[in-house]
Structure formats: C-alpha cells, structure tokens
C-alpha cells in the first residue's frame, strides 16, 4: 500500500491538472440574448467562442414577447444573459429569469448584462410618468440598437463582460468588438451623406422604434401612426396624421413590418405623393437582414429611393 501511494498521488495530481486544463478553457460560454439586435452584436463579438441563444425574433414586437417556459430552459443553462434594457423586456424577462432558476444570471450578478444602462437614452420623460401617455418607458426610448454608434459602443461593453467570464478568449472578444465598432463608425458618415443627398428630412413612423436612427442621421419624425406609444391607430388620429403630412410635405412613411400596414396604405391613398416603405427595424425582421449594419443599410436605401 505504501509503495502504491506515490503512484496514486501522482496519478490523481495529473488527473486534476488535466481536468483543470480541459474544463473552463474548452467549455464555451452559454449566452442568451433577449432580442435579435442584441444577438447580432453578441455574434459579432463572441463569434465561435461562445454558444448563443436568442429569445425574441425580428418579426416579433420585443415589448410583448410571451414568457414561454421553453425560454426558461435556455436561461437555466446560461452563463450570461444580455438584455436591451430600458424596460423593453420588463413585461417578460423577469418571469423568465425566475423560471430559469439560475442564480448566475440574476440581476446584479456577472451573468446579467443590461446594455441599456450604458446606452445614453433619448426621450427620457421629464417629470412624472403616467400610462395616460401610453406605453412610455420611464428610462427613455429603448430602441437604441437602431443607432450604429451606440451599437458600436455596446459591442465594447459586451466584449468586456465576455472577457470577464472567459479570460481565455478575452483578447479575441476585444479585437472583434473593436473591428465591429470601427466598421460601424466608418460607415456612419457615408450613410449620413447618402441620406443628406436624398433630400428627405421629414418622415412619418408607426411607433418610436426608429427614433435613434432618425436622431443620428438628422431626420425629423413629424408624426406617428400610433396616437400614443403602444396604442393602436385610430381613424381620428390617422386623419390628423394626413393633415400633418400635407402641411409638412412629407414624402416618406417608414412603417415597421411587425405592424399592420393598413393604416399606412390609408395614408398613401389619401396623400398619393407620400411613399410608404414597409421596413425591417430589427435583425431578422426580413430574411436578408442578418446583421445590425444590414438593417441600417436597408433604411438608407429606402430613404434614397424616396427622393
């Protein structure tokens, strides 16, 4: 027994070292993104060094995703949950997190990353907030992923957190995030030039989804088809929008494709000079929109074609 002990001890030591070497280094991070735009940022930064699940689809309204128990299964296995934040997912993510029974991704832990917290939101309501104003987000407009500059910054935040959780791939995450951000920063002035050249300055939207894009590129949304955020259009309000379109000589209506286009069609019927463009406002909202840049490029092309 005494002669076997040194062999046994060494064997156990070697086994422990092998296990230590194989464990964390080879296991990919399991990452869950709440929306396809956040998922696209993660895919660009994490690449093949992580395993990614995305909850909402681009064809769905991210405000009103149903908290399917199957999403809880994804969260139960996650090392990191990355959310858009600014209360976009407030109606469904808390119950998914609780149902996932995974303390690693509870709010406040390293496995929980709220990108909205560093997004410098626009349209933050001043004073008290009431639902009489519709579905107003107290922390500001949550759709910051429609701004290429903010998305570039979000990629850096994502890389930092991925690197904290997986130090082996930290350099790769950081490098990819920088490339991603530089690409968006380089393309933004070109998109700006093309939009400026189009001569389009005033537009009409359906929901306030595209406001970060409008703000970045100097477009002015003069009206929305929703009378208030989250409240479906009414005939009376559409008549008001028609008046606004005529008074402002609006040439383009940008209608997110998750909403019915019957109201936009009505506007076009009343004001034939205005063009209606049914656009994708999220990654995956149309089959060809596979990256965040694809979404911006599509919007720029639509604006160019409306001149």
């Amino acid at each position: 027994m005494s002669t076997l002990s040194p062999y046994l001890t060494r064997s156990l030591l070697v086994l422990a070292l092998v296990c230590a070497g194989l464990g964390p280094a080879q296991a990919k991070l399991n990452v869950v993104a709440t929306t396809p735009d956040i998922g696209a940022i993660l895919q660009a930064v994490g690449g093949d060094d992580m395993s990614l699940e995305v909850i909402a689809k681009g064809t769905q309204d991210a405000h009103t995703i149903e908290a399917k128990p199957s999403y809880m299964v994804k969260i139960s296995k996650a090392d990191l949950v990355v959310l858009n934040g600014l209360a976009l997912e407030v109606g469904w993510l808390p119950s998914l997190l609780q149902g996932g029974r995974n303390p690693k991704v509870n709010p406040g832990s390293k496995g929980y990353l709220d990108l909205g917290a560093s997004a410098e939101p626009i349209e933050t309501p001043a004073g008290s907030v009431s639902r009489a104003s519709g579905d107003v987000h107290p922390e500001g407009n949550p759709h910051f992923t429609l701004d290429p500059i903010r998305v570039g910054k979000a990629a850096i935040v994502v890389a930092d957190r991925l690197g904290e959780l997986d130090s082996v791939h930290k350099a790769a995450f950081t490098e990819r995030a920088k490339v991603f951000q530089k690409d968006l920063e380089a393309r933004t002035p070109k998109w700006q030039e093309r939009i400026h050249a189009s001569g389009i300055k005033k537009v009409v939207g359906y929901h306030k989804t595209l406001n970060y894009f409008f703000s970045r590129f100097g477009l002015e949304p003069v009206a929305y088809m929703e009378p208030k955020p989250g409240i479906p259009p009414t005939i009376a309000h559409i008549l008001e929008v028609i008046d606004v379109i005529k008074r402002n000589n609006v040439k383009l209506i940008l209608q997110e494709n998750i909403f019915e286009s019957k109201y936009a069609d009505r506007l076009h019927a009343e004001v034939p000079s205005v063009k209606v463009a049914v656009v994708g406002a999220a990654v995956g909202s149309k089959p060809e929109l596979k990256t965040n840049a694809d979404v911006y490029e599509q919007l720029v092309k639509v604006i160019e074609s409306a001149q």
């Binding site: 309204d61 199957s70 139960s76 119950s95 998750i258 019915e260």
Partner: protein, 378 residues
C-alpha cells in the same frame, strides 16, 4: 375545530374600507413617479379592479345567490419585491363582497428563493400547483367565471392554502417541471380535507411539460395529484378517510412569429377528478372536464367558446348547493382590450344543472390594472 392559520386582516368595516382603498391607490400612484425610483426599495405595486354587470334568469329574486346588476367582482392589490439577493416576497390581497359584506383577505402571501440553483423553494400561503386553472388569479381567468369543475369540486377559492413548495426543472431539452407541495389542509372552504389532526397535511405533486412543436406552436401537458385526509361520523363514531384529487390538462397555443400581434389561437382542456373516501357514509365523488377555445382575430379583439361537463355521485354539506348528478355548461365570450392594462368582456352562458329551468346569464366585465403588474404565466 383546530385553530385556523392566522389571517392578516378579516372583515374590515365598511367605514374603514374606502380609506384603505385611498391609501393603496395613493401608494400605487406614487409608485409610478421618478421620486419613487429614487426610493427604489419600495415594492412593486399593482392594483387590479374587476367590475361586473350580470343579468340572468335566476338573478331576479330577492334571495338570489348571485343577484342581477352591477358589482365589484373583485379588486386585487399586489406587492412584490426582492427581499435580498436570496429571496423574494409576494403579497396579494383580495377585496370582494360575500353575502353583502366586504372582505379584505390575503389571497397569496409567500416568500420564494432566488438563489438556489435549479429549484424554487416557496413558503407561505399560495395557490396550489394543481392543474391549470387553479393557479390563476380572477383577472387572468380565460372566461369571466371559473369552470364549474373547479368551483364545485375544489370550492370557490380553489386549492389555496398555507404550506411549502419545491419546483424543479428536469434536465431535458424541453421544459419539464416537477413540483412538490405540502399544505396545511385547513384552509377555509376546503372541507374535503377536514381532518382535525394537525399531522394530517395535504400532499401535492404536479408535473408539467411544454414542447415547442414549431416556432409558432406549443403543446403543454400537465398532470397533478393531491392527497389528504377527511373525517366523518358513522354511528356516532369518528372515522377517517382519504381525499384524492387528480388533474390532467392539455393546452395547444398558436401565435405566429410573423403577425403574432394580430392572431393567436389557444385550445385548453382540463380534467379534474375527486374521490372522497368515506366508508359507510356519503362518498361525494365527482369528476368533470372543461374545454375552451380562444381566438384572437385582431390586435384588440378575442372570441372564445367553452364547453363543460361535470358529474357528481352524491351530494352533502361539502358542496354549497344541491347538485344534480350531471351538469353541462356552454359559454361564449367576446373580449375587447384597448391596451394590455384594460379589457372589456361580454359573456353568455347556458347552464343545465338539473333544475327545472336551466340558467342563462349575460355578463359584462371591465378589467383595469394600474401599477407594475408582473407577467402572467404562459
């Protein structure tokens, strides 16, 4: 009779009630402001009010159990917040009328874990994990009223008691959850568990599975079992027997990932069986099934239909009214929802419960929610 579990507030006087409501409404209104965000340790607060107008052929008499006319069907006051990184507390109070008297009662009041991997442990007073409908609060019912299988076999309040619970996910590729609960067995209205021994608790097991058949379609299957003790007297001798409930539920839910704001279809079916073992005395067994369709045909509109069948073998004091061996009920509903925080539902039902004249009733319900209401279960 053994002492019942302590209850926070009972039978608040009519004079005090309006003041209490004002206090809660003031609190909820404040909870919406940025001021409260700075005071972020306040619990999330929501209030739901259900206003109901009824008109039926059995509601015209002075002694009608459910008289025609307007009423406050129920108001629910809910508070919830994380206690610390380890647990969360939920309190839900119900305000409603019983026999003309206002009542303010804790419908649920429980603490549950946030930091235990793989399991949610819960302790307090809560709706038992039995079947599908039993877990719902009144404002989340698929129809204005509960299925007769639930109200007759489980009682108006359903299975709702003080106890402990553990719910765990089974590590498979689909959602599979098993829940075990132990309840006191001494809740009000649950006389089918009327054993006086403090050791005669009620045991519950619930097994729920949900599969994503496609991106748009899910199938959910649940099975539940409840076992407890009852007491009865035969020839002046106190005897004990078992009370067993069984439940099965099946739900298909379709909501397309393209255009899902405007279309959805839900088909649910729930079976409940009750066996009350009373050798030599009235058995009072029963079973029933309810099946219903809910179709969303535009952003704000739903159309629904429900059919129910209930059979009871005997009737005694366990049930509030004499019940015919067979009951059938058919309901139709149209719902209009201006936003996710308000809704109006118009429901008609035809109930053949063995009386000379079947009941026909029309109901109109207004459903309003303010504050930070948590998401309903899928």
């Amino acid at each position: 009779m053994p002492a019942r579990p302590p209850r926070l507030i009972r039978h608040i006087s009519k004079a005090f009630f309006p003041h209490l409501i004002l206090v809660f409404f003031s609190f909820a209104a404040t909870a919406q402001t940025p001021v409260t965000k700075a005071l972020g340790f306040n619990p999330d607060t929501s209030i739901n009010g259900l206003f109901l107008y009824k008109n039926g052929n059995r509601g015209n008499t002075s002694d009608a159990q459910e008289p025609n006319g307007p009423s406050l069907q129920e108001a629910e006051l809910q508070f919830f917040s994380d206690v610390d990184p380890y647990s969360k507390l939920t309190a839900l109070f119900s305000v409603h009328q019983e026999s003309g008297e206002w009542k303010f009662e804790p419908e649920e009041f429980f603490a549950e874990t946030l930091s235990v991997p793989g399991v949610i442990l819960k302790a307090g007073k809560f709706k038992a994990a039995f079947g599908k409908h039993n877990l719902l609060h009144t404002h989340a019912y698929a129809f204005i009223d509960a299925p007769i299988t639930n109200t007759v076999l489980l009682g108006d309040e359903g299975l709702n008691d003080v106890g402990v619970s553990a719910a765990s996910l089974i590590p498979v590729s689909w959602f599979s959850e098993v829940t075990f609960q132990i309840l006191s067995g001494r809740a009000e209205g649950q006389d089918y568990f009327n054993s006086k021994s403090p050791n005669d608790n009620v045991a519950i097991a619930h097994f729920k599975n949900l599969w994503d058949l496609t991106d748009d379609l899910t199938a959910e299957i649940g099975a539940s079992g409840v076992a407890g003790k009852n007491e009865f007297t035969v020839n002046n001798q106190l005897q004990s027997g078992k009370t067993i409930f069984t439940g099965l539920d099946l739900t298909f839910k379709w909501r397309p990932s393209v255009g899902g704001k405007y279309r959805a279809l839900i088909w649910s079916t729930e079976y409940i069986g009750r066996q009350i073992e009373r050798p030599g005395a009235t058995k009072n067994d029963g079973h029933g099934i309810a099946t219903w369709l809910q179709y969303q045909f535009s952003e704000r509109w739903w159309a629904q239909a429900r059919g129910e069948y209930l059979k009871v073998t005997d009737s005694d004091s366990v049930d509030p009214l004499p019940i015919a061996p067979h009951q059938r009920k058919y309901s139709a509903l149209v719902g209009f929802f201006p936003s996710e925080f308000s809704g109006f539902r118009l429901q008609y039902h035809y109930l053949d419960d063995g009386r000379a004249t079947p009941e026909q009733r029309l109901m109109l319900q207004g459903n309003f929610t303010i504050g930070a209401h948590p998401a309903h279960a899928y």
